[in-house]
Amino acid sequence: MKKVCALLLALTMVLGMASAFADEVPTLTLWCIATESDANRPAYEAAIPAVEEALGVKIEWEAFENDSYKTKIKSTSAEELPDIFFTWSGAFAGDFATAGKLYCLDEEYKNYTADLPEVMLQNSTYDGKHYAVPLTMNIVTLFANMDLLKEAGYDAVPTTYDDLMACCAALKEKGIIPFGCSGNATWCVTEYLEPIIEKTIGYEAMNEIFAGRATWNDPAIATAVDTFQKMIIDGYFDPDGLSLDNDTVKANFIAGKYAFYQNGSWNCGEINDAEGNFQAALFPVMDAEKATYGQVIGGPNDALAVSAASKNPELAAKVAFALGKEICHYGYLAGSGLPAWTPDYDTSAVKPLVADVAKMVAESEGMVLFGDNAMSADPANVYLSYVAKVYGCEIDGAGFIEALTNELQ
């Protein structure tokens, strides 16, 4: 009896010690946008336990819906920010960095220079200092449902504008809606509009405008907007899209309701795995004198930042890099993004659609960051409000450039 008692006592002590030990595991908080329906969810679900295991930390994470996250993270006071949080690079993270809310990552980055090319940090570098860990990079991709294209007599995605318009007309003839685009989330409209503008005025000119160094007052932009709007008015877009959200539009495309869906390359995995025959392409050139087919919209855009108010910033920075690397790894394999980190794992299992887009990036002839990330909050939202009006056909190209010129310069 005594022995049993002693054994029990010993057991309790061991358990107690174990639990006391468990309590000592440092806990870090993480906010991101990888909600249940987000393409990045599986990458986070795989990466977080792996990092917890490897670094002996506990990560308490929470995911928020994309649009509400933007307001939430911006209205959270410095002390309330989680240790690590998802951010878009470009001006979005820049607002935090200039406010002194981000922990500088230069010190920690020294350990990762071999795995993470410095060029990938370019969009989150302010005053020569690195402030965010890139996860994946993405470009705007034109996804095509080849089965529907075949019904209209096309075996390949059209690579010239005239051909694309002829294809749309043929699709419409067959009763197939060529494009789907959500008007509920304006960033989805930019996924259509920005490539069209880029392919009209060229990537250098567009970068100048987004950076505020050139004016919007360029008749070529008006032409591009009118081109986009003509496609809408000609009925090449699902009219319901005006009040559908992006996930519904994507689901419609996968279900075979639309022939094309132009959106970020993070959708590759999901579309690749869906039933059907899908291909990835780029929007064709509008003005061959100024743009080439290989110019893309996108860049290393998704990133993790460390709060300057974190109680344990060195550890948070370490975890952020480890997480970044793992999320990139799993995300690339799952097809929710292209790698910002140089892969040190077997990439033969990468999905075909992802490999296609990776090739486009490798061969890209110029890149422009997504407009709403390239500009800081105020101009970005002015820009978005007019993009919404373009999709609703409330203003035309001339009105668009006039409004943006007046308000942003």
């Binding site: 649009d67 933007k70 307001t71 911006k74 209205s75 410095a78 607002d95 935090f96 200039t98 406010a99 002194g100 809310k101 008007g183 509920n184 989330a185 304006t186 809408i232 008015i233 009219p239 319901d240 005006l242 009040s243 559908l244 959200d245 519904t248 419609n252 909050a377 105020d378 939202n381 002015v382 409000s385 007019y386 919404a388 609703g392 056909c393 409330e394 009105g399 006039e402 409004a403 007046n406 308000e407």
Partner: protein, 325 residues
């Protein structure tokens, strides 16, 4: 002397909790907002307050002005004019559609109809449901796809065949055809927002009016009936004048309520710009544009509007007989 002092101290102590809350959370913010409205700053970036004078007011009001050189509105994405117009329309719809409807139901129910209590309970029920939930529920009802209840109903009845083209021909803000995107067009979005408000609050006003009508002295009604008044005459000459104070409260609630409404629009549509109200505009300027001075200016305009309307309504209801609360 000491007595009056303790008496005064006691008055102060009794008022203290209310005063702290009221001044600290309501009055001070109004003054602070007014101060902010002459400045521009960024709460996230912790930037210093920059004095900009009347510039914020100029930006907002210029969006309502016409440029004399071009004859067009000054291009401006702030749409204060839209927001004000929308809130006026919403207030008018609430006052002239919602309240009469509530009054008719209240008059009928208060006359002792079988099951009046059950009717009352059911009509009042939506008042207790969270506005966020009502917004989301109606978002699903308006869904333009297969699942949307409203469009499915219209399709089943065959109404869509003539209704949708008719709406399309009325839409001037856009060149797109109307195919059931109720929240997608300027012309329909505000109405789409009004229907759930009506659905939710008609029971609220009805119950208030019902209570008022029940308070009408029975002898007054009997005397009128003995004089051979018809039901309509009783309603018009006895009941409605008697419940005037309650009607006033209802009008104030309906009007300031529509100026204040935010949750519903926010939950009903992700892009609020087509049914923009001062409150949603303020939210956008603060938390999307990160322009805290400009957003505070909208807040000031909103507060002034609410006061203005409350005063106008009180004036409109002021007459010899009725006491003004």
């Amino acid at each position: 002397m000491k007595r009056t002092f303790t008496y005064k101290l006691n008055i102060f102590l009794f008022l203290l909790p209310a005063l702290i809350l009221f001044i600290g959370i309501l009055i001070a913010p109004i003054i602070m907002s007014a101060y902010y409205s002459f400045h521009e700053f960024n709460l996230v970036a912790n930037t210093d307050m920059e004095y900009v004078g009347l510039n914020n007011y100029r930006i907002l009001f210029s969006s309502m002005l016409t440029n004399p050189n071009t004859g067009k509105l000054y291009a401006n994405s702030m749409y204060l004019g839209d927001a004000l117009a929308h809130s006026l329309i919403l207030a008018a719809l609430s006052t002239f559609i919602q309240l009469p409807l509530a009054l008719i139901i209240a008059l009928k129910l208060s006359k002792g109809i079988r099951g009046e209590r059950a009717y009352l309970s059911i009509f009042f029920m939506p008042v207790l449901i969270s506005t966020v939930i009502i917004g989301r529920l109606w978002m699903n009802i308006y869904d333009p796809g297969q699942a949307g209840l409203l469009n499915a109903g219209l399709r089943a009845l065959g109404i869509d065949k003539w209704l949708f083209p008719a709406i399309t021909s009325r839409i001037t803000s856009s060149k797109l055809p109307f195919t059931g995107q109720w929240t997608g067009f300027r012309e329909t979005a505000l109405l789409a927002a009004f229907i759930p408000i009506l659905w939710q609050y008609v029971g609220y006003h009805m119950l208030l009016m019902y209570a008022g009508i029940k308070g009408v002295p029975a002898d007054l009604l009997e005397a009128a009936q003995l004089d051979g008044c018809t039901e309509g005459q009783v309603n018009r000459f006895i009941i409605i004048p008697y419940i005037k104070p309650i009607l006033k409260v209802c009008v104030i609630f309906a009007v300031t309520g529509s100026l204040k409404s935010f949750d519903l629009i926010y939950a009903l549509m992700k892009d609020t710009s087509r049914a923009e109200l001062p409150s949603t505009l303020m939210y956008k300027l603060l938390f999307l544009h990160q322009r805290y001075g400009l957003g505070s200016t909208v807040a000031v305009i909103l507060i002034v509007l609410c006061f203005l309307f409350a005063m106008l309504i009180s004036l409109a209801f002021r007459d010899k007989g009725a006491k003004v609360a």
